[in-house]
Each structure stands twice: as structure tokens, then as C-alpha cells.
């Protein structure tokens, strides 16, 4: 059992690769990624129905140890400001089988 930060990121699908690259750069190797996510936010409605993924979001779930959180958010926030998206951070407990 380990206390971690649970990080949920919703970003447009065409820019999700940049978030994944950033995770790797920050040493966060594990993540779950769900494509074709619909929703609505500051940049309007993302219908999730687009052939080109322009109107699709991607949901990324990962965890982060406390000592890496600040550096990760410092790297992520400028990217989200530029391309749009949201990042939620909450406390969680991680169990490994």
C-alpha cells in the first residue's frame, strides 16, 4: 500500500501524444489511456465523432509519487494552457497485487 497522487488528464486526442511524452520525461512510466472521449469545456463541445479526431478527447490516468508531482505539473501546465485540456490531482492509495 502506497500513498500517491492520482492524476487525471483530459486533452484533445491529437495532442495526447505530447502528454504521454511528458509523462515519460518525468519518469512516470505507467498510465492508462482512453481514446474517443466526448465532453465539453472552455473550448466548446468535443463530440468524439470525428474521423480525424479533431473533435475527440483522450483521457489519461496515472499516478505520481509526491516528490515528482511539482516538477510534473510545472511541465504539464504550459502545454495544457496552449493546447487546451484539464488536469485533476487527488490523493489516492495504490495497492499492488
Amino acid at each position: 500500500m502506497e500513498k500517491v497522487s492520482r492524476i487525471e488528464i483530459v486533452v484533445d486526442s491529437l495532442n495526447s501524444g505530447r502528454v504521454v511524452e511528458l509523462l515519460a520525461k518525468q519518469g512516470l512510466k505507467g498510465y492508462t489511456l482512453i481514446r474517443g472521449v466526448a465532453g465539453s469545456g472552455e473550448r466548446g463541445l468535443q463530440r468524439g465523432d470525428d474521423l480525424t479526431e479533431v473533435s475527440n478527447n483522450t483521457y489519461i490516468l496515472t499516478t505520481c509519487p509526491a516528490d515528482k508531482l511539482e516538477a510534473f505539473l510545472a511541465a504539464l501546465c504550459p502545454l495544457l494552457r496552449r493546447v487546451g485540456g484539464i488536469c485533476l490531482v487527488s490523493e489516492a492509495v495504490q495497492y499492488r497485487g
Binding site: 484533445d12 491529437l14 495532442n15 505530447r18 474517443g36 473550448r43 466548446g44 463541445l45 463530440r47 465523432d49 470525428d50 474521423l51 480525424t52 479526431e53 479533431v54 473533435s55 504550459p78 502545454l79 494552457r81 496552449r82 493546447v83 487546451g84
Partner: protein, 326 residues
């Protein structure tokens, strides 16, 4: 102009199914085509038109008459986004203007395919090299738009996330999935010629019109969903979405006449000039110019320019070309 030409075009199954798709959305039907199926249909259409074009090119060979429309097309794919950008900058910010300029400088493969279908219904021949013109015109506007945006200081904001290196951008534009498949199919058709075409024709040609019809049904559903966003974008952009293609069409018809193109090739070149991308460019622009608002450039091309071109534009351009050529 003979009004029956528009009526004949409107009463074609692909156009009627496009309108049916729009009606389904506007009337609140839950009709929907799963995205992987739409993607498969679009890939089939690109494969079919690419193979067909390659075989036609194999038959005709590379004559100067073949290279001329290709040259005109490539020159236009650089000049049109420049002109669009100048017009749009009067009302819009740099990134939005550049994104819309790229959208209208590039081409719509499905509009082109619908024009091919129109020519086949009319019994008018066209050159396979026009498929190559389509493939060559798709990517340059993306590069032009990004260079324009950078020239106007978009990369100087210090945030860096939108600053895709130019080499990566060229690579992305050239290796864009639909463009890659189209060019690849064209090459396979060119290399394998009659023998290759005979081997794939039952699959590559016979179902073409049916697949186009089903694909346009989905396009109708999606286009109607974008109408609200189009209303929000304002009268200037709505007028641009119809007026600018008409201007480009007039330019294409004039250049086709000067170049002495045949009627079929002239129509296809006109459609390439007048159409706007809603597959390759919006995806590339979303990455290269993330500050541009997709709820402007996508609804404009998909919900207005595309329906206008396939329902009214194609028969209109054809009627003008036939009148001028005869």
C-alpha cells in the same frame, strides 16, 4: 444554365443520402454510424480512387498535358492559402486566419470523389493524373499556413507547445494517413497497370458508388451536428465559406481554359480549387496551430462548403465549363 443538371445531381443516391443524414440529425433521430466503420469507408474510397487514378495514368502516360494541371494545382495550393490569409486577417487573429487559410487552400478528397461520380453519371471522361493533382495539393497549404503564423509571431509566445519543428511538420504532412494511402494506391495502380486493375476491380470499383453513398450518409449526420457552431461563427465566416470557394472556382475555370484542359479535367481541377479540407488539414492544424479554434475552421468546411459543393457547386461549375468550352 440548365436547372435539370442540379436536379439530376440532387437526385443521385449519394447526395440524397447526405441530405438524409443531415435530416436525421436535424430531426433528432438517433441514427449513427460507428466511427471505425466510417474510417474504413473513407480508407476504401481513397484506395479505390487512388488505384483507379494510377491505372488511368498508366494508360495515358506522362505527357506535358498531364503535368500542366499538376503544376497549376501545386502553385494554387501555395497561392490560395496566402490569399485567404490576407482576407481573413482583417477579421481574425493570426492562428485562426492561418488555420482557415490552410483549410481552404487544401482540398476535400470526398468532394473530389463526388465530382468523379458526377462525371461518371454524365459519361464524361477525366484523366487519372487528376488524382495525383489532388494528392499533391493536400499538404502544401498546411506548411504555408504554419509559416505564415510563425512569420506573424505565433511561435514567439514563449510557451513552445505549438512549435512543431518544420522538419517534423513536413514529415507529418507528407505521411498523413489519407495522403499516404492515396499516393500509395496511385503508385500501385501506376506500376501494376491493367493486370493489377483486373485483379482488384471487382472490389475496388464495383462497390465504389455504394460505399460513397453510405459514407456521405455519415458525413450528412456529422455536418448537421456542426451547424450550431457555424451559426456562432458569424456572418463573415459563413459568407467566406461559400464566397471564397466560388472565387477559387472562377480562377480554376479561367486557368483550365488557358491551359486547354478537357471538360472532365477542368471540372476536377475546379473542384480541387473550390473545396476545403475537413480531414487532413484540421488534424494537422490542431497539432501545429493549437491556438486556432477548431469550432471555426471545421464547421465552415464541413457544414457549409462541403454541402454547398456537392449539392450545387459541382453541377454549377460543370455547367459553366460546358458553356465556355462549347
Amino acid at each position: 444554365m440548365d436547372p435539370s443538371l442540379i436536379l439530376t445531381n440532387l437526385l443521385n443516391p449519394p447526395i440524397l443520402f447526405f441530405l438524409l443524414g443531415m435530416a436525421a440529425t436535424l430531426l433528432g433521430s438517433d441514427l449513427d454510424i460507428p466511427q471505425p466503420i466510417t474510417r474504413a469507408l473513407s480508407l476504401y474510397l481513397l484506395f479505390s480512387i487512388g488505384m483507379h487514378g494510377g491505372v488511368e495514368l498508366h494508360r495515358s502516360g506522362f505527357e506535358p498535358a498531364v503535368l500542366l494541371p499538376l503544376g497549376i494545382g501545386v502553385a494554387a495550393s501555395v497561392a490560395i492559402p496566402l490569399g485567404a490569409f490576407v482576407l481573413l486577417r482583417r477579421r481574425l487573429g493570426v492562428e485562426d486566419a492561418a488555420a482557415i487559410a490552410a483549410t481552404y487552400g487544401s482540398i476535400s478528397a470526398v468532394t473530389f470523389i463526388t465530382a468523379v461520380n458526377f462525371l461518371e453519371v454524365q459519361g464524361v471522361r477525366f484523366g487519372g493524373h487528376m488524382v495525383a493533382a489532388m494528392a499533391l495539393m493536400e499538404s502544401p497549404p498546411i506548411l504555408v499556413a504554419v509559416l505564415l503564423a510563425r512569420r506573424h509571431g505565433v511561435s514567439a509566445n514563449g510557451e513552445g507547445a505549438g512549435d512543431l519543428p518544420l522538419g517534423a511538420l513536413v514529415r507529418e504532412a507528407a505521411l498523413n494517413g489519407p495522403v499516404f494511402l492515396l499516393l500509395g494506391s496511385l503508385l500501385v495502380g501506376l506500376v501494376t497497370g491493367e493486370q493489377g486493375w483486373a485483379a482488384v476491380e471487382p472490389f475496388a470499383y464495383a462497390p465504389f458508388r455504394g460505399v460513397l453513398t453510405l459514407f456521405l450518409l455519415d458525413m450528412g449526420i456529422i455536418a448537421a451536428r456542426r451547424l450550431d457552431a457555424l451559426r456562432a461563427s458569424g456572418a463573415f465566416l459563413a459568407a467566406f465559406a461559400v464566397g471564397f470557394p466560388l472565387l477559387n472556382a472562377a480562377l480554376a475555370i479561367a486557368l483550365s481554359a488557358l491551359a486547354g484542359l478537357a471538360v472532365g479535367d477542368a471540372l476536377l481541377l475546379t473542384v480541387l480549387f473550390a473545396s476545403a479540407s475537413y480531414i487532413a488539414v484540421p488534424a494537422a492544424v490542431r497539432v501545429a496551430l493549437p491556438g486556432a479554434n477548431p469550432s471555426l475552421y471545421l464547421p465552415m468546411s464541413l457544414a457549409l462548403t462541403f454541402p454547398f459543393n456537392i449539392a450545387l457547386g459541382i453541377p454549377l461549375y460543370y455547367a459553366v465549363i460546358v458553356a465556355l468550352w462549347s
